[in-house]
């Protein structure tokens, strides 16, 4: 196995590999680019990458330019996972046949997809890849919305968020369903490693990505990706909003090993109210009215319960 990259501090980390250029068309403040950099910089290994149709794809490979200094492929919205699985299969085949050009190097295979590509349309393909056990990492850039097409709901959109296809209005508070439990579903595939990460907790993210790369088999990473445009906050607040998400436990950071062993990897010293997280974003603005305020309490109850559930699972080691 290749050596695990040692990372001293954020400054060194952020400049330690330049396989994803700052030159891209993502919105200023987009967390996608921060996450991608953190994933790529976590390793010095060669990378073979895929992206599904979505913000990351349309903003980073506009012919004749590319932001990627590693082999990269995009096919469609739903099949980034299968593209990487195919490349990984070819790697294995050429290795068996002794035809690899650099036989002593072992590339890592990574697919990126938005939550729409992952939770919804691409779900079948991802499930197939995970069931077959390809040696690959799938990273979901979870901004809880179809951002590239202008902010429609996905099955990751949280309850009460206003999206263009579930807008808040006089008789609606917006999205009516709870976010799909993608972590649970992917762990249930028996994947060796499944983890939830956030870009503000970069050390935690690096540790998880490195663990994921060290695992044999398909690895799922759900990365919270704050979207300045659709969540409606100022571009310079991406990390602050991400802090609110992890510190309110709206987006808890944990990992599931071999489908069973759950570890919570970040416990905020001061847990902040969910209200603070919701209040910082335009998509939840309507909840702060008399009519819908009860939903904020419901949100808090749900987050508390989920935290309780995660802690119990961690204790129970099942």
């Amino acid at each position: 196995m290749s050596e695990i990259k040692k990372i001293k501090n954020l400054k060194e980390f952020s400049t330690s590999a330049d396989r994803f250029e700052g030159a891209n068309l993502l919105c200023p403040g987009c967390a996608h680019s921060i996450i991608v950099r953190e994933v790529l910089n976590a390793t010095n290994d060669d990378l073979i990458l895929a992206a599904s149709t979505g913000c990351l794809e349309v903003c980073t490979a506009v012919y004749p330019y590319t932001s990627w200094d590693a082999s990269w492929i995009h096919i469609g919205f739903e099949n980034g996972s299968s593209a990487v699985a195919g490349a990984e299969a070819m790697y294995k085949a050429l290795k068996t046949k002794g035809r690899l050009k650099q036989p002593d190097r072992v590339p890592k295979f990574v697919a990126f997809g938005g939550d729409g590509a992952t939770y919804d349309i691409g779900f079948q393909w991802i499930s197939g890849c995970f069931e077959r056990g390809h040696n690959m990492m799938y990273v979901c850039l979870d901004n809880e919305v179809y951002a590239n097409t202008g902010g429609q709901r996905s099955s990751s959109t949280p309850i009460g968020a206003s999206a263009t296809t579930t807008p808040a209005g006089r008789v609606s508070y917006g999205e009516k369903k709870n976010k799909k439990d993608m972590m649970g579903i992917m762990a249930a595939h028996g994947a060796p490693y499944v983890a939830q990460v956030a870009p503000n907790k970069w050390k935690d993210m690096v540790a998880k990505i490195q663990k994921g790369f060290a695992a044999e088999g398909p690895v799922f990473i759900n990365a919270m990706s704050a979207c300045t445009t659709e969540w409606k906050f100022a571009p310079e607040d991406t990390i602050a909003i991400s802090d609110l998400a992890t510190d309110s436990l709206v987006f808890p950071l944990y990992e599931i090993i071999n489908g069973t062993e759950l570890n919570i990897t970040y416990r905020p010293k001061n847990i902040i109210p969910v209200r603070d997280y919701l209040g910082a974003q335009g998509r939840f603005k309507h909840l702060f009215t008399k009519q819908y305020e009860y939903l904020i309490d419901e949100w808090q109850t749900r987050v508390d319960k989920e935290w309780e559930r995660l802690q119990r699972r961690e204790e129970a080691r099942v």
């Binding site: 096919i75 739903e78 699985a85 046949k97």
Partner: protein
């Protein structure tokens, strides 16, 4: 290394086995597939080869045909020989990815065992799926029997992987009629088959770790047009000469001669049917019988459906007086695909032939010799009159009231 298999000079294979054996002999690096009747045995046979050590690439049984072709695209971009097989609904599910494969200029070979597309659900053969793929930028080669299915796979790999071409290729065969009918197939040795296609030469391969590449970029109005034009240019100019060269070499190797357009008795033909698949062979028999009755009948089989062989076809049809385009697909809303292609081909030529369209064999219905006799009789009437005296489009072998168009 994969074990070689000792084949007899002639093996009794159905079309599916013929295709599977060709995939084995060219030692495909990645086969990603999903089962669907009637192409399923292709991947089952291949799985058997894998289980017995006759192939040493990767065999990936995906969760769907869309996943299979997506996997093939990723594998081809990674840099190796890639193949899969499908039919009908599976083909339809693949369509989005077919455009990606050709747009990214990736060599992939797809064996299509032609079958009707539902509704109504039907597992038997017609050409609806072949026609659905006709604008997807793939090379499309058509077999009339298991021998063709075997041979054309070698042609497909060789042309598709040629660096001047770099376009994916389909090899078609008729569902059940070819895919499940065993016939004697003249074989190549494993070595001769592999050498005919040659070892895969990668180009812009993602696995060349020192030279990263970007596949499947975004273009809008600024570049999309140029990309598509270049793709079309390669398809229309590079492919037919490469196919011809491959046919010539194949003839040297095996003695079996293939033509881009297969013309039978066309030198002095007054009337001709143009068709594809197994019906070509039936039509040949009937044409001979018609000649015994004094009707100068000929048959044109389309061997290369894409790129469409404009010049070759125009040359073959130059002197005929009446032509029947036989389409094994319901065109829905227009004349049949072959009718359209032929009329477009002849429009700027001096040919004054009368052209009519026959829809036959949908969902596996037989095309009998009697049907062809009636078609040739119609053609003779049109040739003698020098104009269309029969309906423009007729259904052949349809039960119930006669339906026609015009």
């Amino acid at each position: 290394m994969a074990d070689t298999m000792e084949l007899r000079d002639i093996e009794v294979w159905d079309g599916n086995m013929a295709a599977s054996q060709a995939l084995r002999q060219v030692q495909v690096d990645v086969v990603a597939a999903y089962p669907i009747t009637p192409s399923t045995p292709i991947v089952e046979n291949y799985a058997g080869f894998t289980a017995n050590g006759y192939v040493d690439g990767e065999f990936v049984m995906t969760e769907s045909e869309h996943g299979a072709m997506s996997c093939c695209i990723g594998a081809a971009a990674a840099g190796g020989r890639v193949a899969t097989a499908t039919s009908s609904q599976g083909f339809a599910l693949m369509v989005e990815t077919l455009y990606s494969a050709s747009g990214m200029r990736l060599p992939i070979v797809l064996n299509v065992v032609n079958r009707a597309i539902g509704a109504p659900l039907n597992v038997n053969g017609d050409h609806s799926d072949m026609y659905m793929g006709r604008d997807s930028g793939w090379i499309q080669l058509d077999s009339y029997c298991p021998q063709n299915a075997y041979d054309l796979n070698f042609i497909a790999f060789r042309v598709s992987e040629d660096h001047d071409v770099r376009l994916p290729a389909m090899v078609h065969q008729d569902g059940f009629m070819t895919s499940h009918t065993a016939q004697g197939v003249h074989t190549l040795t494993d070595e001769a088959a592999y050498n005919f296609v040659g070892q895969y030469k990668p180009m812009n391969d993602m696995l060349d770790l020192d030279h990263p590449v970007t596949h499947g970029v975004q273009t809008e109005e600024d570049w999309h047009f140029e990309h598509k034009a270049r793709q079309q240019h390669a398809l229309m100019t590079a492919v037919l000469p490469k196919i011809q060269a491959a046919f010539d070499d194949f003839e040297k190797l095996t003695g079996r001669k293939y033509n881009i357009v297969e013309a039978y008795d066309m030198e002095d033909a007054e009337v001709a049917v143009v068709c594809m698949g197994t019906s070509v062979e039936t039509a040949r028999e009937v044409a001979e019988e018609m000649r015994a009755q004094g009707i100068k009948a000929g048959v044109v089989g389309i061997r290369v459906f894409r790129p469409w062989p404009l010049e070759q076809l125009a040359a073959v049809l130059k002197d005929v007086k009446a032509i029947a385009a036989l389409d094994r697909s319901s065109p829905h809303g227009t004349v049949g695909a072959l009718f359209n292609e032929i009329s477009g081909t002849l429009f700027n030529t001096d040919t004054k032939a009368v052209l009519t369209n026959y829809i036959y064999g949908l969902g596996g219905r037989d095309l009998t010799k009697a049907h062809l006799v009636s078609i040739y009789t119609d053609l003779k009437a049109n040739a003698d009159a020098g104009k269309v005296t029969t309906p423009l489009q007729q259904y052949i072998g349809l039960r119930g009231p006669k339906l026609s168009f015009f």
